[in-house]
């Protein structure tokens, strides 16, 4: 009798426990679970996927695949996911859906339309070649140009959309697997990727037809449409992607695509609709770039620069193409203008055009149907639409912290930005921020409850300050089928006087490595990868990492954000694995090993009006300066002031001082001989000189968009400058950064164009001693 009683006790306990912590369909978990899902995948129904050779599989097959069933790769072989997903939304392009299919169907009315002729496949040519030809045509003419009305048959679009919804409805199993109704808005003016994926909360409220880039290629019009849908009770959100290949247009700070100024209304509209950004996918990472984060030694992760469709003669623009810079500009705008258009959460996804997605280095089967279907094609670097397939990556995923695996619960998780991005493996990461967490919190089994009760999770805003500095609780667990964890970092961004800064803190790491005494940087974990065999072992790294961390340099008067980044130990990149299979050397265009990673959504701190008043005034706005009689210098005055001069500057925000040398600018009044300094530079065009910054060190607090002047200072690397329309212009990888100099009394103050109306730099007398020793205060200096 005792045993059955005991068993029923266990059953009761089981139900209770599941209720509290359950990962299954047994009920909602108030502590929330991590659900991994796909927000970006194309099937044969997408025009470009069909062209590339994905002809067989549709949305229903995608859901089958994500649930764990094998499906056919477009090239005919079976593919199966390593770890099934918890949720997904198929996002076929909403533009010209089904058009190629019907253009090649001689019985369809569409196939007779002149505009459809270039879409027809020539049976006498290899299919893959024809695919690329039409792909490029589509990218350039259809997605890039004005809408081709004759190809927009609402009958076709409507039918395909209805079938897409039906597939999501059929695949949706609340508690077990969630399928969203979703699509991609594919705006690509002049090959600049402005794409957004649109997710609907409920499928029974979706509109008759999606709002496509044919309706408008301006994001502002998409947001207006979304606002109207929301008013009708149809809740929806947008996830932008591939900022990295937007040619700098994804995160503008001055004007939108129509040339209208970015203002508070624009910011609100964007944030009401675009809750998340995809920061990693098959076509590269959009978190940050080594040139924008020169002090972040892990910034160079899967950087992929090109423009879709490979337009000739175009160079990429990095400024405006990366999420971390947008977050920094966002807090700078909050502080200087009172609004923040870039308060977004993070996700990652695939953008596979194969219906199926690999996700893992060990099973990468390409993403563009027949154009990268075999190891031989992939590794031969056969360029397709401007892409070297060796640069592609097996795709990321979005994790959502939600009470249960249902459309409503997951959608709400995305709305409140309680999401994180992973580069492929199912790494789980939690981040809480607040003022009352104690270092003991993690010893308590119910720490997650305390996390929610005493602060905010990722995606949230810190409540009003209750302590001198905010404290963050961060926790991560590895994917049981992948590499161990190396470390967790907190990436902090903040702004002062329109300048923005970033710092990456190592907060917890595997093993007994000692952080550098002065910089706090933790040395690399080591590397178990055998490149020749393409293997690694989990003999280094940790299963779980957790920490309670308080910002050591918090200033309550400044806007800031914090997000966690989790790194795995080094593992072989797919290119190394497939090079081994083919018996060739790992490609020289990508690194042989990578550190897979996870990124939490940020937590923001916004000072109260009162706290702002406590800011120490050490900068001046341009308008204040003008009130004091400041006058902007014209070209001639600028030339007289700087050209051929060595000048010392102080950044009044940070107090850093350095020398700026503006070299000779173009040809002089007479021809210089080889023994004269201007002999080389006279060959440059008029008004073009070289600038060199000197005497910067690793501890110089670099404001945004200055490149890597510390390295340049040491190595003697110069960059170009021009004087034009009353401005000194410095190109930052092709984007002009303009400096205006004002004379106020006998002082010269300079304003950089990306610092939102502040004149933060001042010409100072030459500095004689760079590092005056103050041995009594050595401790204080060490902190910096």
């Amino acid at each position: 009798m005792q045993i059955p009683f005991r068993k029923s006790c266990i059953a009761v306990v089981a139900t209770l426990v599941s209720g509290a912590f359950g990962t299954s369909a047994l009920g909602a978990n108030p502590d929330r679970d991590a659900y991994f899902g796909e927000t970006h995948v194309h099937t044969s129904w997408s025009l470009d996927a069909w062209l590339l050779g994905n002809r067989m599989t549709g949305p229903a097959d995608a859901y089958k695949y994500f649930k764990g069933e094998p499906i056919k790769h477009p090239a005919g072989y079976d593919v199966k996911i390593v770890t099934p997903l918890d949720w997904a939304g198929v996002t076929d392009h909403s533009e010209y859906v089904g058009v190629i299919k019907y253009a090649n169907d001689p019985t369809s009315a569409l196939s007779k339309v002149p505009a459809a002729q270039p879409l027809k496949i020539d049976p006498n040519k290899p299919l893959s070649e024809e695919g690329i030809r039409i792909f490029n045509y589509v990218a350039k003419v259809l997605f890039g140009g004005p809408p081709v009305k004759s190809l927009m048959d609402p009958k076709i679009a409507g039918t395909v959309w209805k079938e897409t919804i039906a597939a999501a409805q059929a695949a949706n199993e609340p508690g077990k697997f969630t399928a969203f109704c979703s699509y991609e808005w594919t705006s690509m003016p002049n090959n600049m990727n402005m794409h957004r994926n649109i997710f609907f909360k409920e499928c029974h409220k979706v509109p008759e037809a999606p709002f496509s880039a044919l309706d408008s290629s301006f994001p502002e019009d998409l947001w207006n449409w979304m606002d109207a849908e929301r008013k009708k009770g149809n809740e929806l959100l947008a996830i932008s992607h591939n900022a990295n290949i937007s040619d700098g247009r994804m995160y503008p700070t001055e004007v939108d695509l129509r040339g209208r100024p970015i203002d508070a209304a624009w910011a609100e509209s964007r944030m009401r609709n675009e809750r998340l950004v995809e920061i990693h996918q098959i076509k590269g990472t959009s978190e940050t770039h080594p040139l924008m984060s020169p002090n972040d030694e892990f910034a160079s992760f899967e950087i992929m620069q090109f423009l879709i469709g490979d337009p000739p003669g175009r160079t990429p623009h990095l400024v405006g193409s990366f999420a971390r810079q947008a977050l920094k500009d966002g807090v700078a705008m909050q502080g200087s203008k009172g609004f923040n258009p870039y308060k977004f959460g993070f996700g990652a996804a695939a953008d596979s055009h194969n219906t199926a997605v690999a996700y893992r280095q060990e099973n990468w089967f390409g993403a563009h149907a027949l154009t990268d279907a075999t190891p031989e094609i992939r590794m031969s670097g056969k360029i397709a639409a401007g892409m070297d397939p060796r640069n592609l990556y097996p795709a990321g995923l979005t994790g959502v912290w939600a009470e249960e695996n249902t459309r409503a619960s997951l959608f709400e998780g995305m709305q409140r930005k309680e999401t994180f991005a992973v580069s492929g493996p199912h790494i789980k990461v939690r981040l809480f921020g607040g003022w009352e967490y104690t270092p003991e919190i993690l010893k308590d089994a119910a720490w997650v409850k305390t996390g929610y009760a005493k602060g905010v999770p990722m995606g949230g805003d810190l409540p009003v300050a209750k302590a001198k500095a905010p404290t963050f609780v961060v926790w991560a667990v590895k994917d049981p089928t992948s590499g161990n964890l190396d470390r967790i970092q907190i990436v902090k961004g903040w702004s002062k006087n329109g300048q923005s800064f970033e710092r990456v803190f190592d907060v917890v790491w595997a093993g007994d490595r000692k952080p550098d005494k002065w910089t706090g940087v933790v040395p690399p974990i080591g590397n178990t990868v055998d490149i020749e065999k393409a293997t690694y072992t989990n003999s280094i790294g940790a299963v779980e990492l957790k920490q309670v961390w308080t910002d050591p340099e918090f200033d309550p008067s400044l806007d800031a954000f914090y997000y966690a980044r989790v790194l795995e130990i080094p593992t072989p990149r797919w290119t190394t694995i497939q090079a081994k299979q083919l018996g060739i050397a790992p490609p020289d265009v990508v690194p042989p090993t990578i550190q897979e990673r996870a990124w939490s959504s940020p937590i923001w701190y916004t000072p109260t009006a009162e706290a702002r008043k406590t800011a120490k005034p050490n900068g001046m706005t341009v308008s204040d300066l003008k009130k004091q009689g400041g006058v902007a210098l014209n070209d001639a005055q600028l030339r007289a002031l700087i050209v051929g001069k060595s000048t010392w500057l102080q950044n009044n925000v940070t107090g850093d001082k350095y020398e700026v040398i503006y070299g000779d600018s173009g040809p002089g009044t007479k021809v210089a001989t080889p023994s004269e300094p201007g002999f080389n530079t006279q060959k440059f065009a008029p008004n073009q000189g070289q600038i060199w910054l000197r005497f910067l060190g690793r501890n110089t607090m670099l404001p945004s968009l200055v490149g890597n002047p510390v390295e340049a200072s040491k190595l003697g690397v110069t960059s170009a400058y021009f004087i034009n329309n009353g401005k000194i212009v410095n190109p930052m990888s092709g984007s002009p950064i303009e400096i205006t100099v004002y004379k106020v009394g006998d002082k010269y103050l300079a304003a950089r164009g990306n610092e939102f109306g502040y004149a933060n730099y001042e010409i100072i007398p030459a500095v004689a001693e760079l590092n005056p020793l103050n041995l009594g205060g050595a401790k204080k200096a060490a902190v910096k």
């Binding site: 068993k7 266990i10 059953a11 306990v13 089981a14 139900t15 426990v17 599941s18 912590f21 990962t23 299954s24 047994l26 764990g68 770890t83 099934p84 090649n104 169907d105 001689p106 019985t107 007779k112 002729q117 027809k120 496949i121 049976p123 048959d153 609402p154 009958k155 199912h426 089994a445 926790w475 667990v477 590895k478 994917d479 049981p480 089928t481 992948s482 595997a510 940790a542 299963v543 779980e544």
Partner: protein, 278 residues
């Protein structure tokens, strides 16, 4: 001139000229107006055209626009019939592929006409029971040994702890091992769910553990575990009544495949294929 020839419009005109010439030469004998040359537009056709027009979000067609629609339809039909008469459909890869695919759709449509009789469906279920099997489910608790804490000794520590626990009741495990970051008890979980949470090897290994005693150590993606299985529901096949709709769907899918295959087989049987050299 070469530039001109590359112009699509010029190409189109040239091709048109050639076709017109061919048509003049091969003008079909039945060009006279007989019954087979009659193009009939019915009331329903007109309605359909109007609906197609409205579906594009356009205001109702004017009489002139309606006339143009009809002209377009007639034109399409005339050209289509003439093209057929000229045999332009022959050896056109796209036409061939499209027609072949249509045949497959016909097979699918045919298969949809058939519904299994209740007893037929039940018999089919009996025959194919295995495909409806539900994966094993397990209720278990475990003691975790963390490589983060124990490093190279993780497994040996787990083995030592097992000796300590063996023969002891469930609650003897309190205080043994390390804190696990998820749960120490899992109630009635399918192997699929456990494979996701612990890694596939752990889920596979669990199936072979005898219930009712501490056992292991079993390795997961996180380290080593001693496990105590409270109960194991082996792989189960639900009764027909419980999953009738699922069985029906599976039958329909299989039937569709079969119909397609058998239709092809019967058509194929009427052909002899000659390969080079045979």
């Amino acid at each position: 001139m070469r530039h001109l020839i590359r112009e699509p419009l010029v190409q189109f005109l040239l091709v048109g000229l050639v076709l017109f010439g061919a048509w003049q030469l091969a003008k079909p004998a039945h060009a006279a107006r007989d019954a087979s040359n009659r193009i009939v537009i019915t009331e329903d056709d007109l309605k359909q055209m109007a609906v197609g027009w409205a579906a594009q979000g356009l205001p109702p067609p004017s009489p002139q626009q309606m006339k143009e629609l009809i002209d377009a339809r007639v034109r399409e039909e005339v050209l289509y019939r003439e093209a057929l008469a000229l045999g332009l459909d022959k050896d056109d890869a796209i036409v061939r592929r499209q027609l072949a695919r249509k045949m497959e759709f016909v097979a699918e449509d045919l298969s949809k006409l058939e519904e299994p009789k209740p007893e037929e469906l039940r018999a089919w279920y009996e025959k194919s029971r295995a495909r409806f099997a539900l994966p094993p489910r397990v209720t278990f608790r475990h003691v975790y040994f963390s490589p983060d804490r124990r490093g190279a000794n993780t497994r040996t520590d787990a083995v030592a702890a097992l000796t300590q626990l063996s023969g002891k009741p469930i609650d003897a495990s309190v205080g043994v091992g390390d804190t696990f970051m998820f749960q120490s008890f899992y109630g009635d979980r399918s192997m699929e769910v456990l494979a996701k949470e612990f890694g596939p090897a752990f889920a596979r290994a669990l199936v072979d553990v005898a219930p009712g005693a501490w056992a292991g150590p079993v390795e997961s993606g996180y380290g080593w575990h001693l496990v105590f299985i409270d109960s194991m529901t082996p792989q189960q096949i639900p009764e027909f009544d419980a999953i009738e709709q699922e069985v029906r769907n599976a039958w329909v899918e299989e039937h569709r495949e079969k119909t397609r295959a058998s239709m092809y087989e019967s058509m194929r049987a009427r052909y002899e294929v000659v390969l080079p050299g045979s």
